[in-house]
Symmetry: C2
């Protein structure tokens, strides 16, 4: 899913067998990706910086309109958004971004905006629930009754699929803000404005940068910060195994994308924490549970398409 | 649900409107309860010590047989068992107790035993999933898309209901073994043989007894141990809010049954930990989420009945 606009053939084999047209928007905190697919083919995709709401949603809508003129009217539009978002259809804040600290976006009515402009059925959920749904439909979580997708980037978020549907209760999971036990002698205060040393405050890109004194992407795999971070992530993995009993925990996002060695350390520490209690799950079994997403960085935008499929 | 055998009228208004006959067994680590219900009435119930498997299942079966002779053949039998249990119908260990440390019970085929003896449809799950299902059907979790039932007694366990069904993934939730951050200056090692200071190792009846130097039930509500325990339980409550986004967390079991003041402290500490991040959920809202079960100590045996309903 490269930047700019263009036809991308990378979806071949992933999407539906039929020939229907769907559009999607993955709205992230720093960038948005719009795309349009027909059957198995991604016809076009485009990337936009996430600026102020009216302007950002306007230019995305203009692009969708241009694609509609070129390719025809989509069956449905999927919107996978950064959160927290309103997901209860009986409430007035359904389809809105709710309590975000992101300037200007609090209370933005995403579903209302695009429904008014296009009159299409709209599938809506968090960006991470969309990615989890895409992995469940086309990726590494196919056939899994319980599956989790976690993204570790500028923030940490997670989506949960139970029996083919995103998990919604009071709101939706907020896995990035779990509090974990720290390793001995570690006094890093964490960078989360709400919680300090929650998972996002400890292991997101900005947190890693602050801990290692260099850009997160530049930290070598043998840097000592990974020992602490692997232990902290393992605490969260053990929590997820004990609360949700997932068959997959797929870890995506920029920070871990090419860090197989760190992921192996996370699995080893997770096995230590579970200590044989979850029947038959040791380090070897965790290699088939805690994995990278099969769709890679396409999980997010294909998540928007998976949400469009659900709505139609 | 008193000990011994007898008709219990306490179910009036709780159970189904129809007049069908169902039987249930709640199999706990120290005691088992069998019961038979018709429509809204509990016709009879009986309590048994949990001894060796063959003897225990034998005398429970004898009682069910006597009830069947008196009342007729039930539509189905529900079994709600201590765990871990096998819940995947495609596996050979379905219906078995799997890796329990309880002497003699590892590998016991509960469903096979009663199916062979009675030839009835059998509903099967953990004791806590059964209790959660009963609270969802007749109790404090009615209408909740996501609900959790936790029992704090000689051990700690939890069942999760999502969209009306017990949550099963790789296995089932094991909420008692969550690891939580400890309060400053606390060096109690915990009593869990697997994990030391997991939730069960810190806050179960035996753990409380060890921490306070007296029987758990005798600890006064103003004993300082509750400050630490309320903080530890609040850590777990915050984890559950962030992972499962439940509308109810019902806390039952012997330890907390009459400790409303401690429960209020757990809610206050939970609100501090979430720190406003889960939209609109502060201490006041948590009073409608973290609650005692409406069915009280009948949640367990009625859980077996709720499982019987599901199977027929």
């Amino acid at each position: 899913m490269p930047g700019g606009t263009g036809a991308a053939g990378g979806g071949a084999g992933l999407l539906s067998e039929d020939d229907r047209l769907f559009a999607g928007i993955e709205l992230g905190g720093t960038k948005a990706i719009a795309l349009i697919v027909r059957g198995r083919r991604i016809l076009a995709s485009a990337r936009f910086p996430t600026g102020q709401p009216e302007q950002t949603l306007g230019v995305i809508g203009d692009r969708l309109e241009a694609w509609q003129a070129e390719h025809g009217r989509p069956e449905a539009l999927g919107i996978a958004s950064f959160g927290p978002v309103g997901l209860d259809r009986s409430r007035a804040d359904y389809g809105h971004i709710t309590s975000t600290p992101k300037p200007g976006w609090q209370g933005t009515d995403l579903v209302g905006h695009f429904r008014k402009r296009f009159g299409l059925p709209i599938g809506f959920d968090t960006d991470v629930a969309g990615a989890a749904l895409a992995e469940h439909r086309w990726g590494a979580a196919r056939g899994c009754d319980v599956a989790i997708y976690i993204t570790i980037g500028t923030g940490i978020g997670g989506g949960v699929i139970v029996n083919g549907e995103p998990l919604h209760g009071l709101i939706h999971p907020e896995l990035g803000h779990l509090r974990v036990r720290r390793t001995a002698g570690d006094d890093f205060a964490g960078v989360c404005p709400f919680h300090g040393d929650c998972l996002e405050g400890l292991a997101s890109g900005p947190a890693l940068g602050a801990r290692a004194g260099m850009d997160g992407a530049a930290i070598p795999d043998d840097h000592p910060v990974w020992d602490r971070v692997a232990a902290e992530l393992a605490e969260a993995m053990a929590m997820l195994m004990l609360t949700l009993s997932p068959r997959r925990i797929l870890i995506g996002g920029g920070v871990f994308q090419h860090r197989q060695g760190v992921l192996a350390r996370v699995r080893a520490r997770t096995a230590e924490r579970l200590n044989g209690y979850v029947a038959g799950v040791g380090e070897a079994e965790l290699a088939g549970i805690i994995m990278p997403p099969a769709l890679g960085d396409r999980a997010g935008p294909l998540g928007a398409i998976a949400l469009a499929y659900r709505s139609s």
